[in-house]
Subunit: 253 residues, 2 copies
């Protein structure tokens, strides 16, 4: 980039990083306009402009006469529900259950082909492999297989994997999960996958390939997930002059 960004965009970025780095947690009171103006050597107007833009995309929230606060935020919320099946199930009035099918360490070179490349891992890098089956009201709905860079969260335990991976990452390992990408396809279930999901081989299923990222766009995990066709759907909204909702999975009745 030869062209220098305008000051308020640089400022916006700097402030955004303060939040990503968890210097300010969700719910915290953020810097005031007057503080920012002093600390960064800009005018209060510019501070306000940068803050406004963070308010606009839901990262912050203004409360007149009080201050600026860090919001749970689209980011946090959606990533949480991307990862947290249990929350989703409970809010749909279902009882979630997780069965851990496999949990082992391996080297990147031992993983299937595209895994190491997509995770940007050298052949000797350590990975976790986790395979979980997730139930809603005792019906198996999701079969998930996930490779995780072990160096980033060395203290993962079996216990973590029966609960929320998301919590283990954010709370135990202080990882700031900043993004994810999903690719959705339709597939016919193979015999073994169908058996795990208690349906027939050849039945249709949604296959989602997802990559999760921490700060700096560094990958943290890669997962391939199978969703039983009659039990799950993805929804997304486009357009309006408002930021669009990301695609989210929903449990079907």
């Amino acid at each position: 980039m030869l062209i220098k960004d305008p000051i308020y965009q640089q400022l916006r970025q700097a402030l955004g990083e303060l939040i990503l780095k968890r210097d300010f947690k969700v719910g915290d009171k953020f810097l005031t306009e007057r503080e920012i103006s002093e600390r960064f050597g800009v005018s209060r107007t510019t501070a306000n402009k940068a803050l406004s833009s963070l308010v606009a995309d839901g990262t912050l929230e203004f409360r007149k006469g009080v201050g600026t606060f860090v919001r749970p935020g689209v980011l946090d919320y959606d990533l949480r529900s991307l990862v947290s099946f249990s929350d989703k199930a409970r809010s749909a009035g279902r009882v979630p259950k997780t069965e851990l099918l496999a949990f082992r360490r391996l080297r990147a070179s031992e993983a299937p082909d595209p895994v190491a490349a997509q995770l940007g891992a050298g052949p000797k890098e350590r990975l976790f492999f986790v395979e979980r089956l997730r139930f809603a009201d005792d019906v198996p709905v999701i079969l998930e297989r996930r490779y995780i860079l072990a160096d980033l969260c060395p203290r993962l335990t079996k216990r973590d994997l029966e609960g929320s991976l998301y919590a283990a990452w954010t709370e135990k390992h202080k990882l700031a999960i900043t993004g994810a990408s999903q690719t959705i396809r339709a597939v016919k279930l193979s015999g073994s996958d169908a058996a795990a999901l208690q349906t027939k081989p050849g039945d249709a299923a949604l296959a989602v390939l997802a990559l999760g990222y921490v700060a700096d766009g560094k990958p943290l995990w890669r997962e391939e997930t199978l969703y039983r066709a009659e039990a799950y759907e993805f929804r997304c909204e486009l357009g309006g002059l408002h930021p669009s909702q990301p695609t989210m999975g929903h449990l079907l009745p």
Copy 2:
């Protein structure tokens, strides 16, 4: 809303509507800060704040020393590619073809059950029904069935339907398409659908139920679309401190 929005948010909304109403088209020079400040009776600072927020979500673009311009925009671009299969196919290096299987008028009461309700149509309201099969390099990839409120685009012709519906709506009928929602599921193809798509019954396919909206959130169309599993996928990005990309379909090689 008892609580009055701050001025700059009201202003932002007002400006946004100018664009939605197509008072300013894509590529046009927008109002200058000084014009806005005069026309709306606000300060230039506030005008800038409102504009900045529209720049932030990609609706406008600043060019220093020149002015503010209406961008092709996430909105326009994504909705276009939601609707325009041909563009997508061509940019994937494939040759698109469209075969019109059916085109007829009917009353809302004659349509399948959820259609009228989702379109908000009374039983006597006129609808178009359009069924199209879309090819990439002479391979059938998409089977689409669409109900359209006829009152909003009475002059649709068979010719329009062999090309771009999107163009017929926006150019011929001056409709501003402002949003859409998609729901993605996996299904097994029925015999007749499989025949149309030249695959075997029971094969997996992506089924997308979509609703499209014009200004004021009024529905314009409802479509059910089947995508051949090996030929199509949907991708979406979450997170970052930037607005997330909506889910978009992609042709597979």
